[in-house]
């Protein structure tokens, strides 16, 4: 796309920048149109090409692609770059990708700066292309200013503890525990309920392989008991977490005394809650109106003709998307269409003469589950589609139920169904767990489930280092999908812990000893005890301020920077966010101000 030309003062080289003899490469991403549909990427590149210290500036359709990574690496070598700016998506997505590119090409990874021109520019200014282009240029110039003052940093290597805390003993957590133990890691599996198994333990036949949920959990339970490396704590909860990446101290409240373990990684698999309709919602509360989990339990009982409260069931109606895709819960739970269709097949097994009517908004029986839908239709299930704004109505009809719907597939004709049972096809809700969220600082998405960094690129990692998520605490999932994500978390945790060492972020606070007056204010400001006052010989001292200097332990410092503003003589800087860098970024954001 093109926008109006940048104002001359913005398009001109950055006049405020003092050349620093750095050699910086700048790469601006189109993100396949996600950025370049709204930002004139070529104009941004053209504008910064002549900026001080910029040796090479290019645009790329996808900077994260293998081909562009290769080009960047070649540029680093050919142009002997000592700084790199990538302007693309949020730093949450590809900072590690481009640090790795830098490292491979011989550039220190901390001399690269990520600039967010997608989430914080193109996507939020879709209504103002010129404004988005001007802003992208300002953001890139701030990135260049930051890089100009970057310094090579090396992570601190710390030994990791080869033990993983798994929180939640449902099928995802149980399978993860087995997987971790088989890779030679110790596991502490914590379950709040008195026994393992979660929702799956209560399920009868599951799809697509007709495995029994109870049997599945029993098999996993047996596997867990066979492995000495797994410690199971039921009726237990995490109540505290401290320590540093790779060596966390976690305290578990048990029925006896609290127990503290050292663990290297934490996997959260705390599961979901099922949507509970309000009284009267689609007739919920009338005898014969059941939620999907209640119907599943009914199917699990016995194997003869299907009955409900002593009466034979001859007609079943299903209403899909109950509690889903509305104002309160806007998302689709995905699993429930397939689960309802599967339940209809199980009901048909109990009597082929049972009439079954499925009232749906949209059907999402993805992948192999489509075959179940075909099979259910072959066995007599009828599917009626209703409009979003014309949901079915439900009323009592003698001893039974009357379900009325306007069927879009028969030109909006009103259909009345006399049913013995009505199944409300309910979805999954995020489980409320404020204590755990508070303890682990877990990020929550718009739908209330825990948020991964990226659903495809980093699907089980969270923004909290060392804390992984899997199973249905992350999003609605089937049993198979929950197990798969549990195993993904196993791989991720083991990739860190099997190395035996983890790298701590080197972007920590540092004291300028010549400026430090030894007043000790910073010591009180650090809740992690990472700052000590030392004398000339480096030993901790309690003497008059003039004879001592603050020293920061790089392994103990969390890199929050909270000590820097309290220093009365500005003797503390946070690496990667130094006073000079932030001031230069502020200036960069104002280059060519069109005022």
């Amino acid at each position: 796309m093109t926008t109006a030309p940048l104002p001359p003062q913005e398009g001109a080289p950055d006049p405020g920048a003092t050349p620093s003899k750095r050699r910086i490469g700048v790469y601006v991403c189109h993100c396949g149109g996600n950025i370049s549909d709204y930002v004139d990427v070529e104009q941004v590149v053209a504008a910064v090409k002549a900026d001080a210290d910029v040796v090479v500036a290019r645009d790329a359709m996808f900077t994260c692609s293998d081909a562009t990574q290769q080009e960047i690496a070649q540029d680093i070598a050919e142009h002997q770059l000592d700084g790199m700016v990538v302007a693309s998506c949020s730093p949450k997505l590809h900072t590690l990708t481009f640090r790795s590119v830098a490292r491979r090409a011989g550039l220190n990874p901390y001399e690269y700066t990520q600039v967010n021109i997608r989430e914080q520019c193109s996507w939020t200014h879709t209504d103002d292309h010129d404004g988005a282009t001007r802003k992208a240029l300002r953001l890139v110039r701030a990135g260049i200013a930051h890089t100009r003052l970057s310094e090579p940093l090396e992570p601190t290597a710390v030994e990791t503890v080869p033990r993983v805390l798994v929180i939640g003993g449902g099928v995802a957590g149980m399978r993860a525990a087995v997987g971790l133990a088989d890779l030679g890691l110790e596991v502490v599996l914590v379950e709040r309920e008195p026994r393992l198994g979660g929702w799956v333990a209560r399920l009868g036949t599951t799809y697509p392989h007709s495995a029994d949920g109870g049997d599945l959990v029993l098999r996993l339970d047996r596997e867990i008991r066979r492995r000495e490396a797994i410690t199971v704590l039921t009726g237990a909860e995490l109540i505290a977490k401290s320590g540093t990446y790779g060596d966390y101290q976690v305290t578990i409240r048990t029925e006896a005394e609290p127990i503290t373990f050292s663990v290297g990684q934490i996997i959260v698999t705390t599961g979901f809650d099922s949507y509970e309709p309000a009284a009267g919602e689609f007739g919920y509360g009338i005898p014969g109106v059941l939620t999907l989990p209640e119907f599943t339990s009914l199917l699990k009982e016995g194997d003869g003709p299907l009955t409900y409260e002593g009466r034979p069931v001859r007609t079943i109606a299903y209403i899909y998307c109950v509690g889903s895709r509305g104002e309160e819960h806007a998302y689709c739970s995905r699993f429930c269409c397939s689960a309802a269709v599967h339940s209809a097949l199980l009901a048909a097994d109990r009597g082929e003469e049972i009439r079954q009517y499925h009232l749906y908004r949209d059907l999402r029986t993805y992948g192999r589950n489509e075959a179940m839908l075909t099979e259910s239709r072959r066995r007599g299930s009828l599917y009626l589609k209703f409009a979003d704004d014309q949901p079915p109505s439900v009323s009592r009809d003698g001893d039974g139920l009357r379900v009325t719907v306007r069927d879009l597939l028969t030109a909006g004709e009103e259909v009345a169904i006399a049913a013995d049972l009505l199944v409300l096809v309910t979805g999954m809700l995020a489980r409320k767990n404020p204590e755990l969220i508070g303890t682990l600082k877990l990020p929550i998405g718009r739908d209330g489930f825990f948020n991964e960094i990226h659903p495809k690129l980093r699907p089980v990692e969270t923004v909290v280092d060392g804390v992984l998520i899997a199973g249905t605490c992350q999003a609605p999932k089937t049993v198979a999908e929950s197990v798969a994500s549990g195993l993904a978390a196993v791989t991720q945790a083991a990739a860190v812990l099997k190395r035996g060492v983890a790298e701590l972020d080197p972007q920590v606070a540092v004291v300028n000893p010549s400026a430090c007056t030894g007043c000790g204010v910073c010591v009180d400001a650090c809740p992690f005890g990472a700052i000590t006052l030392v004398g000339a010989d480096g030993a901790a001292v309690e003497t008059e301020p003039a004879l001592r200097t603050a020293v920061i332990d790089v392994a103990g410092c969390k890199g929050c920077g909270g000590c820097a503003p309290v220093c009365t003589v500005d003797a503390i800087d946070l690496r990667g966010y130094t006073d000079a860098q932030v001031r230069a970024m502020i200036d960069g954001l104002l280059v060519g101000a069109a005022r």
Partner: protein
């Protein structure tokens, strides 16, 4: 406080105040990202510098931003969700107060700096806050 001139781009928001936001990598920045992912709109004159924690903002940075040409500084604080410091809100408030003292010494209106807690999913609150802040800054110029 800022000398204004017509922009070279005809339909550019000439009077849109320039706002610098200090966000945090783990909490408020994901909330601001979410506003973008949700295509919520606010002025492109709002730009963000992300830090580990707003307790690390130096009062001098706020003053520097205002003296160099920003019309307002918005601190998107972690509030109670800060992963580092349990007293983050109190610390960040003290930083804002210290900045306002410096601003007062230079005759800069203290309401040009604003702080609000922005969580990792606070897309709508962030959008509302910066829009309101931009409007109040524009009103100060009128």
């Amino acid at each position: 406080m800022v000398q204004r001139a017509a922009s070279a781009i005809g339909d550019a928001p000439v009077h849109a105040p320039r706002v610098l936001v200090f966000s945090t990598n783990a909490i408020s920045d994901p909330g601001i990202d979410l506003a973008g992912s949700s295509h919520m709109h606010y002025s492109p004159e709002v730009v963000v510098i992300s830090l580990p924690c707003t307790s690390g903002v130096r009062p001098g940075w706020i003053l520097h931003a205002l003296e160099q040409g920003f019309d307002g500084v918005f601190i998107a604080a972690d509030g109670e969700e800060c992963g580092y410091l349990p007293d983050c809100t109190a610390r960040s408030s003290r930083i804002v107060q210290a900045a306002q003292t410096l601003m007062a010494e230079r005759g800069i209106d203290g309401s040009r700096v604003k702080m609000a807690a922005i969580c990792s999913v606070c897309a709508e609150p962030f959008t509302r806050q910066v829009r309101g802040f931009s409007e109040s800054l524009a009103a100060m110029e009128a």
